[in-house]
């Protein structure tokens, strides 16, 4: 019976989450590392008042790499249109730290890449599954987030970013 009641509470709670609107949450302060091993505070994620995409990924996550590769093809256009900057947060552990740089460069990605080796940033951002992508407005408020990736999902993402860049309301998304 205990089990049933917990399931019930969680299901009710899911309903609330589905109904959530976009509240002005900001980035937590967590120490991560740059691709060359220096310390970096996530509060320093910045784009001079323009929108920011924060995307959690890992080397072992095929949909994540698909998402970042798909965006890489159009990233230049996105940047021209909206001034957006993408931070790709790798949650790979010490096993693969040295492989992140070669993969990023090997793929020719132009993103800001950060390493969240022990998942501290991931936990502070409540990321359960990857890929998990956040959009931040010019004041660095988290205004939109989404998990999973399928072909075509990047079209929704850029639509959000465009609206955020123009200061439009995105509460319908």
């Amino acid at each position: 019976m205990k089990r049933l009641s917990i399931v019930l509470a969680l299901i009710l709670f899911t309903g609330v989450l589905f109904a959530q609107d976009h509240s002005g949450k900001t980035l937590p302060e967590v120490a991560v590392k740059t691709i060359t091993g220096e310390s970096f505070n996530t509060a320093d994620i910045d784009n001079d008042g323009k929108p920011i995409i924060v995307s959690f990924w890992a080397l072992w996550c095929h949909p994540c790499i698909k998402e970042l590769t798909t965006i890489a093809d159009v990233y230049e256009d996105w940047q021209e249109e909206t001034g957006v900057k993408l931070y790709a947060i790798s949650i790979d552990d010490a096993r693969s730290t040295a492989k992140v740089g070669p993969l990023v460069n090997g793929k020719g990605w132009e993103y800001e890449v950060l390493l969240d080796q022990n998942g501290d940033f991931k936990r502070a951002m409540n990321v359960n599954m990857i890929p998990h992508t956040f959009v931040l407005d010019g004041d660095k408020n988290i205004v939109w987030q989404h998990t999973s990736f399928a072909e075509g999902a990047e079209l929704d993402l850029i639509e959000i970013v465009e609206k955020v860049a123009n200061g439009e309301d995105i509460s319908g998304h």
Binding site: L8, T14, F18, A94, A98, P102, L103, V104, G152
Partner: protein, 575 residues
């Protein structure tokens, strides 16, 4: 029953009130509340073909793992709780997880200079060789520390960490002498910030050192055991342009424990990785050597629980199902490993690259034993109560534990089609890695093709076909998945894995003693259908079908996934 329903409505009301409060108020004044939760449940069915009987299920035909996290943040202050329920845990998870309650609660205050956490925390020193506390939901793994952590940043470029506490052991509360106490400190110096002359240098250097000590009373009736076990490490990180090199050396004093079978030998390890990359080309090389580095906060515990340190496996993490059939897990009692990866992007508009270019990844890893020699004629290698054995630093032994040589190519063919092709040759020492003594090494060849076809802006199909060929273990497999995606909301998938073994379904091998083993396998299909719905951060996944027996590894920690048949649901969300 009424009581439970009332209780659950109560919990729900509190959560609801919190989220509403957080949303309604401005975050500067009242703070922010965020959180996440996940529920994985499975309904288990009998399946005579798989050999799952009513006795196996034992009345527990429904099982569930769930968690909920709530984090509150106001300025420099934050606090959080984590609730977990395993009623009972899904098959394949440690049965000691059964139970429910708040496992974590913590509060943290952090200014630029000082950062204090009390309660449960996760932390890592360097690459984790002497200390790493982390959690991995999919494995049921959590070795968080309950205690206090202080992080000081007295000047730019300098970080000092101190930790003190006891580690989580399922639901068992810490009591005197029921497990050890862990304490330690770490210093990290980014030289370019500390020495102003180096500020603008393109060469960047970080030095670090850490120390961990475990206290556990000696209650052993036979041996006199060290009550304080110290482990320390030194490390550096060097980068210059596209070049990067990091190295850590770790040492542990004698620590007789259940993993090393109570030998009094010191442990040591070296982990070094180097990479070079420029646009379109990347190269990474890493090497690891460890000897007797199993370090737990209870010397009597085996398995995955209560690890203080983390020794990453030097092998590629495969994500396609058949490629991941034979994953490697670090052998903490000793291994020598090397791994190399090359990433190359064939440029756009070249003959081979076509309009969009083409990505190639080559990967090679090779892991073997270290060379251990007996102490003297009367002592066998690893004999309890002795110094165990002798080994030279960086020695390499004869036994191969694991090898993987692989290639992966990804190519966008045109606006509609994308293709990924991979092939791997894997050598897997089953006797060592799974502890099935006498089993022969598995030599497997796996290939995968993964084709995506986008036929409308947001509609796509994905078709995966793969095959695993081996003469050992369970023989050959072929697997296929067809997936339809309507981005970003819906997905439907149908898949089958077929263990066709070989022509006559018999796997035969001769062991070292010349005995012939013959196993006849039934050729079995493992069909599954699945559907998923995603809105924002909420994802609901349903699947029905058979799950093959296997090993799931994340970050080198593995858990066995038993074969099963049934209905599965996952709900995950965050806010």
């Amino acid at each position: 029953m009424k009581k439970y329903i009332l209780k659950s409505i109560g919990v729900f009301a509190i959560l609801f009130a919190f989220t509403q409060m957080a949303n309604a108020q401005s975050p500067q004044k009242y703070g922010q509340v965020s959180g996440s939760f996940q529920l994985d449940a499975q309904l288990y069915q009998e399946d005579s073909e798989l050999g799952i009987t009513a006795e196996d299920i034992n009345g527990q035909d429904m099982r569930m793992n769930a968690f909920g996290n709530i984090i509150y943040r106001l300025g420099n202050f934050s606090a959080g709780v984590r609730y977990e329920a395993y009623l009972p845990p899904l098959a394949g998870f440690d049965t000691r997880l059964e139970g429910q309650g708040f496992v974590n609660r913590w509060a943290r205050y952090s200014t630029g200079i000082i950062d204090v956490t009390v309660g449960n925390f996760y932390e890592q020193f360097g690459s984790g060789m002497i200390f790493r506390a982390y959690e991995e939901w999919s494995l049921g793994y959590d070795n968080s520390v309950d205690g206090a952590r202080v992080i000081l940043t007295p000047m730019k470029g300098m970080t000092i960490k101190g930790i003190y506490g006891t580690q989580r052991f399922f639901w068992q509360k810490y009591e005197k002498n029921n497990r050890g106490i862990v304490r330690g400190g770490d210093l990290d110096l980014f030289m370019n910030d500390i020495f102003s002359g180096l500020e603008s240098s393109k060469t960047k250097l970080t030095l670090g050192a850490g120390l961990i000590s475990k206290y556990q009373a000696d209650l052993d009736p036979i041996y006199k055991l060290p009550e304080n076990v110290m482990s320390w490490s030194g490390r550096f990180n060097l980068s210059h342009g596209g070049f990067f090199w990091q190295t850590e050396y770790a040492h542990k004093i004698n620590d007789p424990n259940a993993i090393n079978d109570y030998i009094y030998k010191d442990g040591q390890g070296l982990f070094s990785s180097m990479s070079y990359s420029q646009k379109g080309l990347g190269f990474a090389l890493s090497a690891k050597w460890i000897d007797n580095m199993g370090f737990k906060s209870d010397r009597a515990v085996t398995g995955d629980a209560l690890f203080i340190n983390f020794l990453p496996p030097n092998a590629k993490t495969h994500s396609y199902s058949l490629s991941a059939m034979y994953p490697y897990a670090t052998q903490v009692n000793g291994e020598a490993a090397i791994q190399a990866t090359i990433n190359y992007r064939v440029p756009k508009k070249s003959k081979l690259g076509g309009k969009y270019g083409m990505g190639i990844e080559l990967n090679f890893s090779h892991i073997r034993a270290i060379d251990k020699t007996p102490l003297n004629d009367s002592t066998s290698i690893g004999q309890s109560g002795t110094l165990g054995y002798e080994t030279k630093f960086l020695s390499i032994g004869d036994d191969v534990y694991f090898q993987d040589l692989g290639i992966e190519i990804d190519k966008k063919i045109n606006k509609h089609f994308k293709l990924i092709v991979s092939a791997d040759m894997i050598k897997y020492n089953m006797a060592i890695i799974e502890g099935h003594l006498g089993e022969p090494d598995v030599d497997a060849f796996v290939w995968v093709t993964d084709l995506s076809y986008r036929f409308k802006r947001k509609h796509s199909l994905r078709w995966e076909l793969s095959q695993l060929l081996t003469k050992q273990d369970q023989g050959n497999w072929i697997a296929s998945t067809l997936e339809y995606n309507f981005a970003p909301t819906w997905f439907f998938a149908i898949s089958d894995q077929y263990n066709y073994v070989n022509k006559d379904g018999v796997i035969k091998y001769t062991n070292e003693n010349g005995e012939v083993h013959e196993t006849e396998f039934e050729k079995l299909h493992y069909p599954t259908i699945a559907a998923g719905y995603t809105k924002g951060t909420t994802r609901v996944l349903l699947s029905y079908g058979r799950q093959r027996e296997g090993i799931l590894c994340v970050g080198g920690v593995c858990r066995a996934v038993p074969k099963s048949n049934g209905f599965k649901i996952t709900i995950t969300s965050s806010f």
